[in-house]
């Protein structure tokens, strides 16, 4: 804990130093957002370490992340199918907010090892993690939305994903920064976002029921970990 506090203090110090030193707000925003982002990701992994998540759950999270990453890699040649959004959302829904966040985060990082790591990696990790988190909150208490509702949510998430990516892109690289330019960045990415959304919607409509059932079954197998040392009579 002491270490975490020291780290946080150091980060805050560096952050404020940057703000002081940097004159343009755009660069200040870029830097501070990077620091905050790194902090959020680091803290979530620290939380993971401190949580009660055991070997079995780790294996499940890793498996789903690998599955998601592989789907992303194998579908990369098909331009409008971006399965990560749908799969992360589904994992969040079936497994809960934190596992959902982890699946989104790690699959983004890992698939980028194959597709190209870059300044966008932390942002993708964050955005997809967020999608998993939201869906996890949505699916709390075992709620299961209808395929259309889930599909529409995936459409929303696709746009959310695109917008988070754009925001940083625009602020970090647009000179001079104008609201028009900001808007235009969104407009140009609209086509990609639309394709992303359409693909996610189709995936949701076509895959949702089947995949939810599979995940739900394993989730149950995962949860039941009671150890009973005496067998009830009727069990025999």
């Amino acid at each position: 804990m002491k270490r975490v506090i020291i780290t946080a203090a150091a980060v805050a110090l560096v952050g404020s130093l940057m703000l002081l030193a940097v004159s343009e707000w755009q660069n200040a925003f870029t830097l501070v957002s990077l620091v905050v982002l790194a902090g959020v990701l680091a803290l979530s992994f620290l939380y993971f370490e401190a949580s009660i998540i055991g070997t079995k759950q780790i294996a499940l999270i890793a498996t789903l992340s690998a599955f998601t990453a592989v789907s992303r890699i194998v579908f990369a040649p098909i331009p409008n199918v971006q399965p990560v959004t749908f799969l992360t959302a589904l994992c969040g829904l079936a497994l809960g907010p934190f596992p959902g966040f982890l699946v989104g985060c790690t699959s983004a990082f890992v698939s980028n090892i194959f597709l190209g790591q870059g300044p966008w990696t932390p942002w993708q990790m964050f955005s997809w993690g967020l999608i998993g988190l939201f869906c996890g909150l949505w699916g709390k208490n075992g709620k299961k939305p209808s395929p259309v509702a889930f599909g529409l949510a995936c459409v929303g998430f696709s746009f959310l994903f695109g917008w988070i990516m754009n925001l940083w892109q625009a602020v970090a690289y647009l000179r001079p920064f104008t609201w028009l330019g900001f808007l235009l960045t969104y407009v140009t990415s609209l086509l990609f976002d639309l394709m992303h959304a359409a693909g996610s919607f189709l995936l949701a409509i076509l895959f949702y029921e089947k995949f939810y059932k599979i995940l739900h079954r394993y989730k149950r197998r995962m949860d039941v970990t009671y150890i009973d040392t005496s067998l009830p009579k009727e069990g025999l």
């Binding site: 030193a21 780790i58 690998a66 194998v74 790591q117 870059g118 000179r175």
Partner: protein
């Protein structure tokens, strides 16, 4: 290239150089960053990554160029007036500059990646962050396996009459449903087995020890010293105001000739050189080779 550096060194390098790059638009800083990253990547013969970076940066540069040409009229040096719209030298230069900045950021990530030794990272993080490390280890283990299964299943479903090519998008996605469902099911099934394998081998049973602890060497010292020098000079320039730059207002132009910038660029080159030297293969290897 066998990586000789301690795992934290590239992390520190990445953080410090991203700080440099994103704290200003100053052309010398951007040039310095790109000089550093390209030298290290080229020294490691990472031609593929150098090319890949270009492909990532080009579309964005093109977009910014187009945007600036059409919408931006700021700037002093007027090149032409088209349909009553000023096209300025500054706006074009900026588009290029920002493109190079994006390229530099990409290359810096590549550089840090090329200096990270996966095995050492695992050893280091394994004792500090065992759960996260196991997660990533399992993912790396499973990906090639799943990929192979994916293509195998695609083959099996092709023999069951499922068509994957030359069909509309909706049908295409539908075709993959069975393949992905089977893959998901088999993957989840194997998640129990691989989890059990880790469990049986005592994972999370106690505080982990470290098999091949990597210790910082003179190599890390060299790189970090060069990096610290560079950072110090840059912070001086920053405090002094020389690092602020805005072409549209002509800001920073008069300090472009500040001789400190030459020192800055020299230090960038030195850092790149130090990294290459530090990462050179050792002649007498102190590592035990298992091969007989």
């Amino acid at each position: 290239m066998k990586i000789q550096l301690h795992i934290l060194t590239p992390v520190f390098l990445l953080v410090s150089s991203l700080f440099l790059l994103f704290s200003t638009d100053h052309p010398f800083v951007i040039c310095g960053s790109i000089l550093l990253a390209v030298t290290v990547l080229a020294g490691g013969k990472k031609w593929k990554q150098l090319k890949q970076g270009l492909w990532f940066a080009l579309p964005m540069t093109f977009f910014m160029l187009l945007f600036n040409l059409v919408f931006v009229s700021s700037g002093v040096t007027e090149l032409a007036v088209v349909f009553g719209k000023r096209i300025t030298l500054e706006s074009i230069l900026y588009a290029f500059l920002m493109g190079v900045k994006l390229l530099a950021a990409t290359y810096l990530f590549f550089m840090a990646g090329s200096l990270t030794n996966g095995d050492k990272a695992v050893s280091y993080c394994g004792s500090k962050l065992p759960k996260s490390t196991l997660t990533f280890l399992l993912i790396f283990r499973l990906i090639p396996h799943f990929r192979e299964s994916f293509f195998h299943l695609k083959d099996v479903y092709a023999t069951r009459g499922v068509e994957f090519e030359n069909v509309p998008l909706r049908e295409k996605i539908k075709s993959y449903r069975a393949v992905l469902a089977v893959l998901l099911e088999q993957s989840l099934e194997s998640s129990f087995e691989i989890g059990e394998a880790a469990y049986t081998r005592g994972f999370l049973s106690t505080k982990r020890s470290v098999y091949e602890r990597s210790r910082p060497t003179w190599r890390d010292g060299l790189v970090l010293t060069a990096d610290a020098l560079l950072l110090a000079v840059y912070i001086l320039l920053l405090v002094n105001g020389s690092a602020s730059f805005n072409l549209y207002f002509g800001e920073g132009l008069e300090r472009l000739s500040n001789p400190a910038w030459i020192l800055f660029l020299l230090l960038c080159a030195t850092l790149a050189g130090c990294i290459l030297i530090a990462n050179r293969k050792q002649r007498e290897t102190t590592e035990v080779t298992w091969d007989t």
